[in-house]
Symmetry: C2
Subunit: 624 residues, 2 copies
């Protein structure tokens, strides 16, 4: 198994070799899945451990769910069995070359032709070219294609169609279809194992019932008919995807933190006293103050993910009984949490790489690939800045409705107590009042959050119009939204620790992590609390001092806390982050096995080095 | 030329192919350099435009300067002609597997043997393995090796030796020498064109005069003799290197900003009004507030580089007349500036990549490679955090000497007015007081800087000992050092604009950039100014409002301001950042030319895709 799925050699390979290897691994995994009769949940776990982006992610994670969510029962019966057996392989073609976040701006058209009972699909411009879909470039036979539905001369906006794009016999693109890979992406391995693709249509005809018709259909005569199924039902899928993204964030961040903590405990630097070894770098405050908040964040996101699973069930139950009342709050909350967890995780992985010093730059650290493979999460499923602006709109609306007596609920409930919260300043006078420290942190965050929002609102109102004001203060609003979401994370972490946790010392450690998470946010956002006088400079010093003492508490258990994530050495793929700490010997041995060291004299010596040394280089314009 | 030096295909290549291509380019460049009889300055320019890390960087940039700086006249006469003709190729072997920043911790030994008049060089431990030197892995025939000089049983600390490591006949490693490449590094191309290497010695004997003896020598009988040449003379080279690093920072950041500004002017998103195109993303405040401060920073660093060239001449002139008085201040200032400019540039490149949305993740954007190739600058020539701690020690010492009447000078002069500065609060009451705005910014920075330092000092003094206190507050000290260095950058920018600048409107634009740079620092560090009450929340709002109005001023000239960096399309290597703005057509055409698209049916189809689709996959344990 290790031989089939080895990943340590990925970074030396050229793109073609890398990609072909991914096809090999995907086929091998499929073979195992079939022979062991794995359930889809088990198969998904297997694929996640193989830990390599591949077309199967899109087939199972986007193509099949889209058919389930947007197809009628009849359509599901037709397509799903083919997809489950992978006799067709599908992808999800939404994004276009010129259109990403603004889905309503997509240009691809599907025009109904009643004379043949078909849609005619076209890519009218260059910017309408589908661009980015994973699995599209070289593998998929089918795609869910988003296109503007036009019938009887009217544009009904963007709808989903299922389309065959390659022959099932010889895999050539079908007539009228241009499909190709979009080229190399960031990082050595990373997403280069994936065939992100481009796709164009020139008058491609598909049967009318290739329109996924759960929400709306087109009749034989071209009449557009909404089905009566509420569009809101689709929101459940969105919550599910965002929940998965947050769980991924915790997982990726925990991998990076595991590597950085273990290596920081092995690496020694400076502070030699006659004969004694140098100091472990994990003992430096400059290291702890960057590393431990990330360790705490990985834990915080894990509890957040658990809560989002509950949120998903709650939303699904409500949707089923036609209760859409919590959707605006859930929409805003999950959008914001997707945004802050992915941004923090991407930055956190890169920070962990930097915390490993020079050796973090080696692919053997595992961190360069982890970053390159993770960072697209900041862009896909909604650009992180745009998502925070959506949160801002929700928060502004919530505050504006307060006067009318409408009470905000769920994660926004605290906004109902604006007047109360703002009237108080922080009362804490000792950094060691740890019993109240969390309440104090969350008060801070709530206060800072409201204050920053409330100070911007009158200015927006004073602008020539609401949109101009929103635009002018959009940076401030993004900051406010981020603070709102961080408050949700702190609150969920606190709530989780109120429940039964087995083991007193486990509980103690989790509390320390929770304090570290909350206090590091407070100190990072000190300006927000100082600006109103809510927090005094003395109180800020107390918070900083308390944080330093929490780092000291955390230090002896730091390695155990990352060990408990239970990532295997194969999965981490990091010489620096090995469980046994045997870093240097393995760095050295791995280097000697690198393909560059296959022979003592490098390829290219005879042509390009010896002639230089021997002054026998031919001059330009001769063949080199 | 474009064919020989093309770089757009680097990212698809496997490591071996990539590296061999670099050897080819280096040989070709050398051939041009020789045939055109280029000076070393011209040759260096040529190499910088080829824009690909290669062994030649180390040969010309480290090996030769080390011989010049540390060799006696006789040694220079012996080695330099060989190096100039590249009949030997050299590298610079200092860093070891277990020892980076702490040079005094190096373990390699060179023990003098009077019986043969030789040094015996050994790598006593695994962690003593030389690790990272560029050009070492597969190319260099010689190396400057740093080793502990031991003679007559006494360890005289780390000294530089020139050593041959490979045969000049067949390029095989010499007996007793283990040398190899250390493996793949971050990024697709990036530093993977370089053969960073490892090196071990097993009782390798070298003649006594391979010790570079400018500062100290060993006699025939093993007596260690300092030459009397002051060690401080070596500091000139350090200032030169740091000046070059700051100029590089400006150059790299300007490349990233050029790409992001041009693409932000082409890309449109949201805001469609019936029939009208979407809004250019550069018009969004969320984009401007991240992009324009980086544009301003690229300019600020350019002026800083010019000033550092002056500083270098000044230091050299002083050293020649034996005046070492400015060295501590120059040492701290250049260390800090190396640190903040490289960190800001690395983060800024990655921020520019994110500002290009999804397409920034394509290597065609040029940004992934730019980041991967640049980011080691944060580590080499001194880890950035450690450098800031050095600055902190200097600042603490300077402040502690104030009582004794010792006036600080140069970039630290303002620390002499602590009492004065701290007594005043900010007087600005209108954001539009632009005449005084720069003074106001620099006052802010000075104030914040002093305050943060002065608040920490008593706490350090209260610790059980000075080192424990320093360690406890090291994060705060790093922040204070960073602020000190940013103040230097602002001040240099302001000073530069006091000089004659041709063209009134050019001057006006530069002033706007200077304001943007300074004000974005003030708002980013708002907490530092709020904590003392120096700045009121109303004044902070004024600063933010002023910044927004400066962005509006900058917007119409943003593209011209990046055009004026004058980077060619070849040099930028970015489809998104093309001068002509023809982004989409070229993204599309380049994708179709990608090697992945050489045939419509992918390699691997017959083995790994068709069997899946046709349900003919063999089960595991069979050969796949």
């Amino acid at each position: 198994m290790m031989l089939f799925f080895r990943k340590d050699n990925r970074v030396s390979q050229g793109r073609l070799e890398l990609f072909k290897n991914t096809l090999r691994k995907a086929a091998h995994a499929w073979s195992i899945i079939q022979s062991l009769h794995l359930t889809e949940a088990e198969a998904s776990k297997l694929r996640s451990f193989i830990d390599e982006p591949a077309y199967t992610d899109l087939h199972w994670g986007m193509f099949i769910p889209a058919i389930k969510g947007q197809g009628t029962d009849e359509q599901q019966q037709k397509w799903l069995p083919l997809a489950y057996r992978q006799t067709i392989i599908g992808c999800y073609a939404q994004t276009e070359l010129g259109h990403g976040s603004n889905v309503q701006g997509l240009e691809t058209t599907a025009t109904f032709d009643p004379s043949t009972d078909e849609f005619i699909v076209n890519t009218p411009t260059l910017t309408a070219t589908k661009w980015w879909p994973g699995g599209l470039g070289k593998v998929s036979t089918h795609a869910i294609v988003y296109a503007r539905l036009i019938t009887d001369g009217k544009d009904y906006g963007v709808h989903a169609f299922i389309m065959q794009i390659r022959s099932l016999e010889d895999h050539h693109p079908l007539p009228g279809v241009i499909v190709a890979d979009i080229g190399v992406k960031f990082g050595n391995g990373g997403y280069n194992t994936m065939d992100n693709g481009l796709l164009r249509f020139d008058n491609v005809r598909i049967p009318r019932d290739n329109l996924l018709m759960r929400v709306a259909s087109v009749t034989r005569h071209g009449k557009y008919v909404p089905s009566g199924v509420p569009r809101q039902l689709g929101y459940g899928a969105m919550v599910f995807v965002r929940k998965s993204i947050v769980m991924d964030a915790s997982n990726y961040l925990s991998r990076a933190v595991t590597i950085a903590v273990r290596y920081s405990a092995v690496r020694r630097q400076f502070g030699t006293q006659q004969g004694k070894p140098e100091i472990q770098v994990i003992d430096y405050m400059t290291q702890q103050s960057r590393l431990f908040p990330l360790l705490a964040t990985a834990y915080a996101y894990r509890f957040l993910g658990v809560w989002m699973s509950w949120l998903y069930s709650d939303v699904m139950a409500r949707l089923e009984r036609g209760d859409f009342s919590t959707l605006p709050e859930v929409h805003a909350c999950t959008a914001g949490l997707k945004s802050i967890t992915t941004s923090t995780t991407a930055d956190g992985i890169e920070e962990c790489r930097k915390l490993c010093g020079g050796h973090g730059y080696l692919c053997a650290s595992g961190l360069p690939e982890l970053y390159a493979a993770y960072v697209p999460a900041c862009t896909y499923e909604g650009d992180n800045v745009i998502l925070l602006l959506q949160v801002a709109r929700f928060l502004m609306k919530t505050l504006s409705l307060l006067g009318s007596g409408k009470k905000p609920s769920g994660t926004a409930a605290y906004l109902g107590n604006a007047a109360d919260l703002l009237a108080k300043n922080c009362q804490v006078m000792k950094g060691t009042e740890t019993g109240s420290i969390l309440i104090y942190c969350s008060m801070h965050l709530k206060h800072g959050q409201q204050d920053s929002l409330l100070s911007v609102l009158p200015q927006i109102a004073a602008a020539s119009n609401q949109e101009a004001g929103f635009s002018e203060f959009s940076s401030e609003l993004v900051d406010a939204s981020r603070a709102h979401c961080e408050l949700i994370v702190v609150t969920r972490f606190m709530e989780a620790l109120k429940k039964e946790i087995s083991g007193r010392s486990v509980m103690k450690q989790l509390q320390t992590l929770c304090y570290v998470y909350a206090l590091s946010l407070v100190t990072a956002r000190a300006g927000d609390f100082l600006v109103t006088g809510y927090l005094s400079s003395k109180q800020l010093d107390l918070a900083k001092g308390q944080l330093r003492s929490l780092f000291r508490e955390l230090r002896p258990n730091a390695v155990a806390l990352v060990d408990s994530f239970n990532h295997s050495d194969y999965y981490l793929g990091s010489t620096l982050g090995r469980f046994d700490g045997n870093v240097y010997e393995n760095l050295y041995n791995d280097a000697l096995k690198d393909p560059m060291n296959a022979s003592p004299v490098t390829e290219g010596y005879e042509e390009y080095i010896r002639p230089v040394l021997k002054q026998q280089l031919k001059l330009p314009n001769s063949r080199l």
